[in-house]
């Protein structure tokens, strides 16, 4: 599908400060900031990349302006399994950052702030700050359609456990 071979993928850094309802992530892209911003803030483009690949992404609403709403479903290929997400945009500062509230089904919404940092030479770092209203919501969002992933993950637990209890 792509004209050029995919470039090497960058590692995703995830930080979950213990005892907080916050998750920090950062990830680099070998593409200009203007392009990353444009794709990320355009509902028409969202169906091409958002959501796990085993789901279709259906964008019902994506009104990208302060106070504008967004509503997106992740639908399983057989149409039986629907994960509805919705929220509202704020803090739009092209092409530096924006915030949206992020709700899953009828659970209370949290917020996610995305920062687009120009690294020069056509490279961009995306930094995100997600603030969850409570742990139950955070867990529901993490596990939405990801039960299989969680099971696979159990196989890799020993190493992780060693890491999380490791002395400094």
């Amino acid at each position: 599908m792509a004209d050029a071979a995919p470039k090497s993928r960058h590692k995703l850094h995830v930080e979950v400060p213990p005892g907080e309802h916050t998750v920090f992530m950062r990830r680099e892209f070998d593409y200009p900031r203007e392009l990353v911003w444009r794709v990320y803030t355009d509902g028409q483009q969202m169906k091409h990349w958002w959501g796990p690949s085993k789901y279709d992404t259906v964008v019902h609403e994506f009104d990208f302006r302060n106070g504008g709403k967004w509503r997106v479903d992740n639908v399983s290929k057989d149409g039986k399994d629907v994960h509805p997400f919705k929220g509202e945009f704020s803090n739009i500062q092209p092409i530096d950052e924006f915030t949206w509230t992020f709700g899953y089904a009828d659970m209370p919404a949290g917020s996610e702030t995305y920062k687009f940092i120009d690294l020069g030479e056509g490279r961009t770092r995306l930094e995100t700050i997600s603030i969850f209203p409570d742990v139950a919501t955070r867990d529901a969002i993490a596990s939405g359609g990801m039960e299989e992933g969680a099971r696979e993950t159990y196989d890799r637990l020993d190493a992780l456990l060693a890491k999380s209890t490791g002395a400094k």
């Binding site: 005892g19 993490a142 002395a167």
Partner: protein, 114 residues
């Protein structure tokens, strides 16, 4: 694991002393006195941390009244790790797909401009 318990595990892990205590207990069960040694801390202070860890289900203490050795309980730690890994997987896939899509778009725009 209930969300409350996961929450308790996250907040218990927020403290560096408690993480160090867990790291020590990962090597094997030990008494409060032995635990206190490497830390420049009074016994009541260490006991306070142990109480938080015990409340979060991260450690258990034997009923042996004399020594009351502490033991690590791995299950809640597993839950915390599973949560982080699940969340990471979701976003890893999302960003990898974004990468692919950016690649396609970028190539298309380059060829239009060139």
């Amino acid at each position: 694991m209930t969300p409350d318990r996961l929450d308790a595990a996250f907040s218990a892990l927020a403290d560096p002393t408690r993480r160090a205590i867990l790291a020590r207990l990962a090597l094997g069960e030990t008494t409060v006195n032995e635990l206190a040694e490497p830390f420049d801390m009074s016994l009541p202070n260490i006991s306070k941390h142990l109480k938080v860890l015990e409340g979060a289900g991260l450690i258990s203490r034997s009923r042996d009244a004399q020594r009351r050795p502490c033991k690590i309980e791995p299950e809640p730690l597993k839950e915390v790790s599973v949560w982080i890994e699940t969340y990471r997987k979701l976003w890893e896939e999302r960003f990898d797909r974004l990468d692919d899509y950016l690649n396609t778009l970028h190539a298309r725009e380059e060829s239009q401009n060139g």
